[in-house]
Amino acid sequence: MTRASFRGHIGHLVQLNGPVTALTSLATRLGVAPGELGSLTDLDATSLATLDAAVAAALASDAKAVAAGIEATLRLVPFPLRGRAAKALGV
């Protein structure tokens, strides 16, 4: 995502969501209670949305990388063993 498109994305999110929503969203992404992000309540809606979007992008990027890595790993496993390897990897 380019810096300009990232800003555009954030602007759109801020229009849709207020600070409370962004905080709740971030807490959900991080797997914590909103109260555990207490100090972030001082931030304005745009800043919270920016942070939430950055975390979301990182998590999405991780998920994509893990899926691609598993797929590529299987391609390197000799064909006769690939079925067992896929099972071991939970594919």
Binding site: R3, F6, R7, R29, L30, G31, V32, E36, L37, S39, L40, D42, L43, D44, T46, S47, T50, L51, A54, V55, A57, A58, L59, S61, D62, A63, A65, V66, G69, I70, A72, T73, R75, L76, A85, A88, L89, G90
Partner: protein
């Protein structure tokens, strides 16, 4: 706590999230502890999101011969994923795997490695290789990574890795290092002429605030060792007071 140190923490968070630091500038209003806690929460969330699959990849690496495991790391997983899988490996196995991959790839892995989850693995890697990889990371100017690196290895290993760092690079690495004891030990081991050069160049480059950030982390003994610019000391002390570090030199 100083806004200066909060800025440094925000830069590290931005580095973790691969976003420009200015996009997170609003976080600089928070305390250092709050930003550091947020960064740890982000790291933890990213880790647990794929923990099960990473464990499975690690289990597969354990079963594969070393050469195949290395091939999988380099050609299928890539450095970021390999760094996460490495944290799941037995230290001896991870050390054995390093024999099959090039130092350049290990440097790529180092950029993504979480030392808090990989301490046992890092401890199993021979010092010579650690130093070689550290020098490659320095060439890439990855100072946040080097700061983690310096806090994860013995002082002599860290010093050897950054032996070719310029004075301003030493300043940057020190500023980013979270482990105050580690950066104090490194400071004590640095020659005073090198510390003087770092101070002079920091002032010449308009990086007085960064110099104060570094000095504020040092133990009394390290601070005394780093007290090498008597002519510029009043200027440094005055700025330290402005930034919330009264009595910097005691």
């Amino acid at each position: 706590m100083s806004a200066l140190l909060s800025r440094v923490e925000v830069e590290k968070l931005a580095d973790d999230l691969s976003v420009p630091a200015p996009s997170l500038a609003a976080l600089e209003e928070l305390s250092v502890e709050a930003i550091r806690s947020l960064r740890q929460q982000v790291q933890h969330a990213r880790y647990v999101a794929h923990e099960k699959r990473l464990r499975r990849l690690a289990a597969m690496s354990k079963m594969a011969p070393g050469a195949l495991a290395a091939k999988i790391a380099q050609h299928a997983l890539g450095p970021e994923l390999s760094a996460r899988v490495a944290a799941q490996l037995e230290p001896a196995q991870a050390a054995a795997l390093t024999k099959h991959v090039k130092p350049d790839f290990l440097a790529d892995i180092a950029l993504a490695l979480d030392p808090s989850r990989s301490a046992a693995v890092l401890a199993a890697i021979p010092d010579e290789l650690v130093i070689k990889v550290g020098r490659l990371v320095l060439k890439r100017r990855e100072y946040v990574v080097l700061a983690r690196f310096c806090a994860s290895f013995p002082t002599d290993v860290a010093l050897a890795a950054i032996a070719d760092a310029t004075p301003l690079e030493v300043l940057t690495i020190g500023m980013y290092t979270e482990d105050d004891q580690a950066i104090s030990n490194i400071t004590l081991a640095l020659a005073q002429d090198r510390l003087a050069a770092m101070g002079e160049e920091a002032l010449a480059a308009g990086r007085l605030d960064d110099l104060v950030a570094l000095l504020s982390k040092l133990s009394p003994a390290a601070l005394q060792h780093a007290d090498v610019l008597p002519a510029r000391k009043p200027e440094i002390v005055a700025r330290a007071e402005e930034l919330g570090f009264p009595d910097l030199f005691g």
